[in-house]
């Protein structure tokens, strides 16, 4: 047996190799044993079993069926799987095709091609049950929601189909086979076996209270252990080798390990609901006993009137629990405190209620964006809040905002507590079912009350969302619509106006489009380097390509992809690139080094199914570091086999790879290069005309003049548009009294002069007399000494003699120093720091001829 240890979880083959392939040097097995050292459990997973697979996000595991196990020549353990898609993995726009609400427990038989079905064994979390159902069949009601999934239809990336009889029977067979094999080999946790055995019985609606209690207990233990287990697993993987407990702790803080978000949470909620009901049922007889308990607990909430203490006691534990009690109060359960005899009756009601709740939750789940990285508990509460709103017609959006608002650190710590709240109640239920309050007092009492206070919104008081997307206030008056033709033209000529098409960049567009499209279809990765001087439409073209591809992806012409963008100028530090990429990809917010490891893991491990990512790196040159590791990593990931990463890097200089990159970085960047030439005057002309479209605001010659001027200077389209915009203003200004006219040559010339004329000559002409004499003195001194540099003292002597010639009062040294520093501040002169006083050296910042020319005209 082959053992590989990874953070105390040992994966070993079950049994002897069944088959070996000499050519490929693979050994096939029929099962695997996952042994966790810490909890001393062993699980055996066999071929045909259904399992949860780690996803990009720890809270979104994938469901898959195992088809094959093998070990390759490098002794890596692999598994071949058949994927099942959860509803959240299906694109938003395709979900409509279903025309029905989907329970979070339902999965779809995945027939989408392009997902890698070869995975590493280490990504398997545990086994689950997937039961095939006929399309018409309703989902059975079960308790063990997180471990059972149902499949009704298949999904091939375009439409949903009913399961073929073949696959249906296969799945059914697999299930039977799976059931036949003992799920756990370890006698330490017999509960696990019980739970798996009870699965079938659970489908039956519970009628007898005693059995139900037992069930709940089992399942709660189970779910508690499960969620904590998976959480642990995730953090372990994240740590990847760092075994010190502190390190793990830190990591957990950084990346809130939220576990099975949609599926599990709902279940937890329902279990809680169930639980509460049980509590309620048990309450009446044990009321006295409970009171004693309450008073005994330090820091627990003050005594609560017995009448509704089920809700209150629950509610004090944590805010979401209060929400619960609210639900309960609002729901038909308000009559819970009736009497013992009705318990049975109520129980049934409970279940129906759970069901409706479940459906509602299910329908809500797609709304939750995978981005919002809330702790699971908070998410739950958010959903419950939504549910309340459904029941109660309260505007829930505000609350949701508010709920999703605590910052990362806080939420991660609170999440653990909340998890406790979620999980522990079930654990404790057996002990006389003495409810939830003790839990809250068990926790650090400083923390909980504060939190409860903070989080419980007072009815009627609008809360400011603490982390809602920041926004600039709205304007109080509507923006005016352009009134005249010139205003309309100005609006169209603004750089920010996005034209319908990008003229003059068709070739480049096609090249980039083809590159990205081919990589998308192949499902591989690659880099492209795009260079060009500023204002030549690099970023605009790339964005246009992405827009077109997104359109194509919607029409199913190319596989769906994820698009993210970073800009070197918008980062404070090159290493922040990791943080931004990770946040855009998964919504996690972590430190730079941690983000780097997470991204490396994401792109370098043979990941389970993942969409291709298109990453635009704008202003690449700013990601330069001494070791160049940011650039290295960025360009290294696409070369990895499973990365599915396409990088479009944009920068100004054509020879950037040769100039600043080390060989190993430049080599990874590859030779797919593209350079955007500066626009020629014809292209600029076309750009302006296409933007103006039908608005006749410019003379043809005027446009040509602008284009020729700019093309000769820089070929920067932004400059061109700015000049035109300014020309419309000048035109408007000139023709204020007379009838509005179109922009003519004169206006354009004025605008160009305004923008490009050198300010120095004008500055000299408008300087004061002594400042001009000082400049003359400098020229004289330069001519005398033959060096283009002089000290103030020398210039001062020249200045005095010039003043004498002109018959003027000569200035004092202090005045000369002031004149010198004034000219220096305008940068007509370049001066040294002034602490050298008379010995300060002075140089001209413009040519002597310019100074002479400026002074001669006087």
């Amino acid at each position: 047996m082959n053992t590989q240890q990874q953070n105390k979880i040992i994966y070993s083959w079950y049994g002897k190799p069944t088959n070996s392939d000499r050519k490929l040097r693979t050994l096939q097995y029929k099962g695997i044993i996952i042994k966790s050292e810490r909890s001393r459990t062993e699980k055996c997973i066999q071929l045909g079993n259904f399992v949860l697979i780690e996803g990009e996000n720890a809270d979104q595991p994938f469901v898959a069926q195992l088809l094959d196990f093998y070990e390759d020549g490098a002794q890596q353990k692999h598994a071949v799987v058949q994927w099942f898609s959860h509803i959240t993995e299906i694109p938003q726009n395709k979900r409509k095709l279903l025309k029905r609400e989907v329970s979070p427990q339902e999965v779809f038989f995945d027939q989408v091609s392009g997902y890698d079905n070869d995975i590493a064994v280490e990504t398997i979390i545990e086994s689950v049950l997937v039961i095939p159902l006929h399309p018409k069949e309703e989902l059975p009601i079960t308790l063990n929601k997180e471990k059972i999934f149902y499949v009704k239809q298949s999904w091939d990336g375009k439409c949903f189909k009913a399961l073929s009889t073949d696959t249906f029977s296969k799945l059914k067979d697999a299930n039977k086979k799976g059931d036949g094999i003992p799920n756990s080999l370890n006698s330490f946790v017999p509960l696990d076996i019980i739970s798996s055995m009870k699965k079938e019985t659970k489908k039956v609606v519970r009628s007898v209270m005693k059995t139900k209690n037992v069930e709940v207990e089992i399942e709660s233990k189970h779910s508690a252990s499960k969620s904590s287990l998976s959480k642990e697993r995730y953090s372990q993987r994240v740590a990847n080798g760092t075994k010190t407990p502190t390190a793990r702790k830190k990591l957990q803080l950084n990346s809130p390990t939220k576990f099975p978000k949609s599926k599990l949470l709902d279940c937890d909620v329902l279990e809680l609901l169930d639980d509460d009901c049980d509590t309620i049922v048990m309450l009446e007889p044990s009321a006295a006993k409970r009171k004693v308990k309450f008073t005994g607990i330090l820091g627990s909430p003050p005594k609560i009137p017995c009448a509704d203490d089920d809700s209150n006691s629950v509610g004090d534990a944590a805010e979401h629990r209060q929400r619960f009690s609210d639900t309960i109060r609002l729901s038909p359960y308000s009559n819970v405190q009736k009497s013992n005899e009705k318990a049975k009756n109520l129980n049934i009601k409970d279940d129906t209620m759970c069901l409706t709740g479940l459906q509602e939750l299910g329908s809500l789940s797609p709304v939750v964006t995978p981005r919002s990285r809330r702790a699971c508990a908070q998410k739950t509460s958010a959903r419950i809040a939504q549910q309340i709103s459904l029941l109660n017609m309260i505007d829930s959006s505000q609350e949701e905002d508010f709920l999703s608002s605590s910052d990362g650190l806080y939420s991660s710590s609170s999440e653990e507590e909340d998890n406790n709240v979620l999980c522990t109640p079930e654990k404790k239920t057996k002990a006389g079912r003495i409810f939830s309050t003790p839990k809250s007092s068990r926790k650090p009492s400083v923390h909980t009350p504060a939190k409860t206070l903070k989080k419980t919104p007072l009815p009627g008081t609008p809360k400011t969302p603490r982390n809602a997307t920041p926004e600039i206030p709205r304007r109080s008056h509507a923006a005016q619509k352009p009134a005249s033709m010139l205003e309309e033209a100005r609006l169209r000529l603004h750089v920010s106006a996005i034209p319908k098409s990008l003229p003059c960049r068709e070739e480049e567009f096609q090249d980039i489009y083809n590159f990205v499209e081919s990589k998308l279809i192949d499902g591989t990765g690659g880099c492209m380097y795009i260079s060009g001087v500023p204002g030549t439409g690099k970023t605009a073209t790339v964005h246009e390509v992405i827009r077109c591809l997104q359109q194509a992806a919607e029409n199913d012409d190319v596989p769906a992809f994820e698009f993210i963008e970073i800009n070197g100028m918008k980062l404070t530090d090159p290493h922040q690139a990791y943080v931004q990429i990770l946040e855009l990809l998964t919504g996690q917010k972590v430190t730079a080094t941690h983000a780097a490891t997470l991204l490396a893991k994401l792109f370098c491990t043979p990941g389970p199914k993942r969409k291709t990512t298109v990453l635009i790196v704008d202003e690449l040159d700013l990601l330069w570091t001494r070791k160049q590791n940011v650039m290295y990593n960025l360009f290294d990931w696409p070369t990895q086999k499973h990365s599915k990463l396409i990088i479009l890097a944009i920068a100004n200089t054509m020879d950037l790879p040769e100039r600043i990159m080390m060989n190993r970085v430049a080599s990874r960047l590859g030779l797919t290069r593209m350079s955007f030439q500066p626009y020629t005057y014809k292209q600029l002309q076309q750009i302006i005309s296409s933007r103006l479209n039908s608005v006749k605001a410019f003379e043809e010659d005027a446009i040509q003049l602008v284009s020729r001027k700019v093309a000769a200077l820089s070929g920067d389209a932004r400059r061109c548009l700015d000049i035109c915009r300014r020309a419309t203003e000048i035109c408007e200004f000139a023709s204020q009294k007379s009838a509005p006219e179109i922009v003519r040559m004169a206006h354009v010339t004025e605008a160009i002069d305004e923008m490009f004329s050198s300010p120095y000559i004008n500055a000299i002409r408008n300087a004061s007399l002594h400042e001009q004499i000082f400049l003359k003195a400098i020229l004289a001194e330069f001519r005398r000494a033959g060096v283009e540099e002089a000290t103030v003292q020398q210039v001062y002597h020249q200045h005095i003699s010039l003043c004498r010639m002109e018959g003027m009062q000569s200035p004092t040294v202090s005045e000369i120093m002031a004149i010198c520093s004034r000219l220096g501040a305008c940068r007509l002169l370049l001066v040294e720091s002034s602490n050298k006083y008379l010995h300060m050296r002075v140089r001209l910042n413009i040519s002597q001829d310019d100074v002479m020319y400026a002074l001669k005209d006087e």
Binding site: I472, R474, P482, R490, T572, N652, I723, M808, R822, K836
Partner: protein
Amino acid sequence: MSKRKSKESISTNGECISQVQKLLRERLCHHYATGKLFGTEHQYRHLLELLKRTTVHGESNSALIIGPRGSGKTALLNHVLKDLMEIKQVRENLLEVRLNGLLQTNDKVALKEITRQLRLENVVGDKVFGSFAENLAFLLEALRTGNRTSSCPVLFILDEFDLFVHHKNQTLLYNLFDISQSAQTPVTVIGLTCRQDILELLEKRVKSRFSHRQIYVINSFDFKQYVRIFKEQLSLPAEFPDETFAQKWNNNVQHLSVDKTVQDVLQNLFHYTKDLRSLHLLLMLAVSNVTVHHPLITASDLQEASKQYRMDSKANIVHGLSVLEICLIIAMKHLNDVYEGEPFNFQMVYNEFQKFIQRKAHCMYNFEKPVVMKAFEHLLQLELVKPIERPSVRTQREYLLMKLLLDNNQIMDALQVYPNCPTDVKQWATSSLSWL
């Protein structure tokens, strides 16, 4: 009887005078509050149109106001803003963010300040002053969420714009200009700077995103206008309570403006600098002389003020030196003449001084070397001489190389007015060869 009358007039005068003082001082000290612009009508209109379009149409823009110090850049901007705020639609539609390159010395500080001035910190609670990276992302996100038609325009005023250019990577400028060139929250970035070469300092990407609107503010008025400005600055307004006094005062100002000496004073100042601040300073000195017994400004007041204003600071220091120290300075002057401005050390100065003492011993007491050294160090402290290299442990103080920070003209002028200067010393100053 007459005494009482004069007393009465004094008391009424006293009130008037204090009011005049208050009015004029306010006008001269807060230059921008005067509400008068001189010779910048064109720039005023350009800027007004620009800002109006930002607020009314939500058009993003960027512009630089460039002009030498004291040319009224800030005054122009404040004037435009004041007039803009009178339009209701603008007043309720504009967020203003003022940054100063001298205060916001790096992008991190600047970002915090922007967040604070936009009042976004309450949105984030305790998170706002997180890391620099977070702040930047936060602010960009905030600005990105807006669009042209619905968001409130933001006006960024960057005073001492040239200092922002030296921030790392010019991140702040890039992002501000980038927003102004993309379909996000409408922003207008106005930079104020005195550097004419500002565009050359911008990085090429930043430069490309800047709209190249430059508004040059230059004092282009001639002397006639200068005199008119002088008159306007000193005149009392029509709404001044005591009309007769105001009349008298204004008449006096009118007389002053045609007075020959006043014209000379103004001409000198005008030739020296066109900066209106220096005029204000001059008038301030004159206005402070106005008292109950001296109720009107006279030409001599202005002349006195001008003299005070044009004082040479270094030469002033020389007046307060002892004879020994003057002698040392004269010795240094001779050394400078002989060696054509090469640096000297204490020993050389001491030798030169000794030569003088030996010839004219009768008028000067022969000081001990340490005493002379002490005097020399005093000059060093006054920064009349300056070592050309840092004093180190190795070189002895006597041999440290120095340079004199005074010009010959300054020394001779100072000697002319130096009280009780021995004749020998004066002679020695005029010629180093006189001892022969």
